[in-house]
Amino acid sequence: MSLAQGPGRAGGNSGTSSDQELHVLKHVAYIKNLDTRKDELQYWLTEHLRLNGVYWGLTALHLLGHPDALPRQETIDFVLSCQSENGGFGAAPGHDAHMLYTVSAVQILVIIDAVDELEKSGRGGKEKVGSFIAGLQNQNDGSFMGDQWGETDTRFLYGAFNALSLLGLLDMVDVAKAVTYIQSCENFDGAYGISPGTESHSGQVFTCIGALSIAGRLDLVNKDRLGAWLSERQVDNGGFNGRPEKLVDACYTWWVGSSLAMIDRLDWIDRKKLSEYVLQCQDPEAGGFADRPGNMVDVYHTHFGLAGLSLLGVVDGLEEVDPVYCMPKSVIARCFAR
């Protein structure tokens, strides 16, 4: 799955579009074609994101109603080829295992209903994956590291909760301690940062609220205060920024929107105006979404743009997305029905 930008631009060749139609088939074709672009420089420069890229592309295709557009067996083979001896997954074959790719691997396998493959052809069953993740929890404060090298970030904590709960293994970690850690990331403005004491950022709000949601501890959140901060991220053109006085970006439709949905405050923003903004970020000719109208499209913004649109429910033609897991709702329902 290539993470290279382009070829198209949001708004198409003219760079502007008042077109308010969602070009489903164009986006499907765009994602399917990503894999044929291996002769491009950016393909290998983004190798460290490869497994994330498959998750983004695959989820987008499911939301677009084309779940079979990627070959299932080859997807499984690729995911398993990224697994290390320790049970974790690297970004691509031969890369060290890391939390972020391990989470993507689990999400992909859950989406295509192939968790059993871990037992059959992986390096041990799901418990092996679970023990890799659990081994990354800091015993002193409950936070999670990305790998054995110790970078700590609320993204990793959320990722751990996401993957472990999908595997039914959340009891492998100290949930209560991790919850306390998240609380220490709350700031005076009611939102959350990447670690205690750092500036509030809507991407980190998503990770903190997502983790609290999985832990069943949303009661710890001051929803009115956080909702006020989140809804304030919407600017006049309808889009969201990630922090005060920063530029709008289509991907914040997801980070801010899903957080508002999790605390039941999504109706505090203008959904119609936001949807219109996101649709302006699509390339109606070659498919894909960009961060802003006129910019180059990429699979990351395509995934989060579509997930955001699905969440808002203004545009027809998309499967429903789960705000906590950023996966199709039907997949989450199937996973937890077991």
Binding site: A91, P93, E186, I194, S200, R243, D270
Partner: protein, 328 residues
């Protein structure tokens, strides 16, 4: 294979390990077409990493790979291990890292690498002399760079810089240059009111059983400092009344000091005079003040209605919710 390393006698003893990306098993999702220079360098990297080789040549190789792809997270881990194993001069490493950081502004690995180096109490019993100068150089490129601010907060805790005059001076010069720099305002808040104990984060935030109204409230405050901070916020608001950061900073300060928003009724009122509103944040402030006062509910609703209809209509539903909450 032909290339820089294949033709170098220094590397003759190494058998490069080619990437097994499964392409022979026909996996279209994974096959990667590498330009040859990167392909060769990473094949040698895999070989020396597999042997856990701690050498000068391996160090140089990591630099080469990083120069082509600084987001390759594995190579950074290996580089740090070599630096410590060979007991290299870490100030030289920082000097090199400065250049890489200025070139790749949005990279996570670079900042974690820096943190790994400075975590070593053996090598850095004190903060390196030029460290804060370099961070200001980074802020000159992007004064809201999230990685750099996160690192700076870590640095304050690591070297106990809370009361270092330079720390607050840098914050002030950044706010002077851009009063809307919310990152600088957050850093200021942590310097002034963040707990200095092991427990990081806002006061009272990371404890079980803390009631919402206790969060961010300091048990002991220097009242003179609080007054000075509120005065500072007022001065910055006068520069740009529609800037949210100092308004929210003031709320944070009032809360930390256990004072209420009503302390600012008069100040906020200056921005909302009959027929002229100079700051929507002042309108919101007044709404909060009135909502707390008995018999002033109607005034609160009036303020919230102004926000809903004139100053922030995009959040109409939010303001409607706030109006419903007011007891008239």
């Amino acid at each position: 294979m032909e290339g820089k390393y294949a033709n170098d006698p220094e590397w003759a003893s190494i058998t490069p390990i080619q990437l097994d990306d499964g392409s022979e098993k026909a996996m279209p999702l994974a096959t990667i077409a590498y330009p040859s220079e990167y392909l060769e360098a990473t094949s040698y990297l895999r070989a020396v990493m597999a042997a856990n080789e701690m050498s000068e040549r391996a160090l140089k190789l990591t630099e080469h790979v990083i120069s082509m792809n600084p987001a390759h997270y594995t190579v950074w881990i290996y580089r740090a291990k070599i630096l410590f194993a060979l007991n290299k001069d870490l100030l030289d490493e920082l000097a090199w890292l400065n250049g890489v950081s200025l070139k790749y502004l949005k990279n996570y690995q670079i900042w974690h690498h820096r943190q790994v180096l400075l975590e070593s109490r053996t090598h850095f019993p004190n903060i390196p002399e030029k460290e804060l100068d370099f961070l200001m150089e980074m802020f000159a490129q992007d004064s809201k760079n999230y990685h750099v601010w996160t690192y700076r907060h870590w640095l304050v805790r690591r070297f106990n810089l809370w009361d270092l005059p330079r720390e607050i001076e840098d914050v002030e010069s950044l706010i002077k240059a851009d009063v809307r720099n919310n990152s600088a305002w957050n850093h200021r808040y942590m310097l002034r009111f963040g707990p200095r104990s092991e427990k990081a984060g806002m006061e009272n935030s990371g404890f079980n059983g803390v009631l919402p109204h206790q969060k961010g409230v300091c048990s002991v405050v220097d009242e003179d400092l609080v007054d000075a901070e509120l005065q500072y916020a007022k001065e910055q608001i006068l520069r740009a009344p529609e800037n949210r950061s100092p308004w929210w900073y003031a709320r944070g300060v009032l809360r930390a000091a256990g004072r209420g928003v009503q302390d600012w009724e008069e100040f906020a009122g200056k921005f909302v005079v009959e027929g002229e509103v100079r700051s929507s944040h002042a309108v919101e402030f007044l709404a909060d003040v009135y909502a707390l006062k008995e018999g002033r509910g109607e005034k609160a609703v009036e303020m919230l209605t102004l926000l809903k209809e004139r100053y922030d209509p995009i959040r109409k539903n939010y303001w409607d919710y706030r109006i419903q909450q007011v007891v008239v």
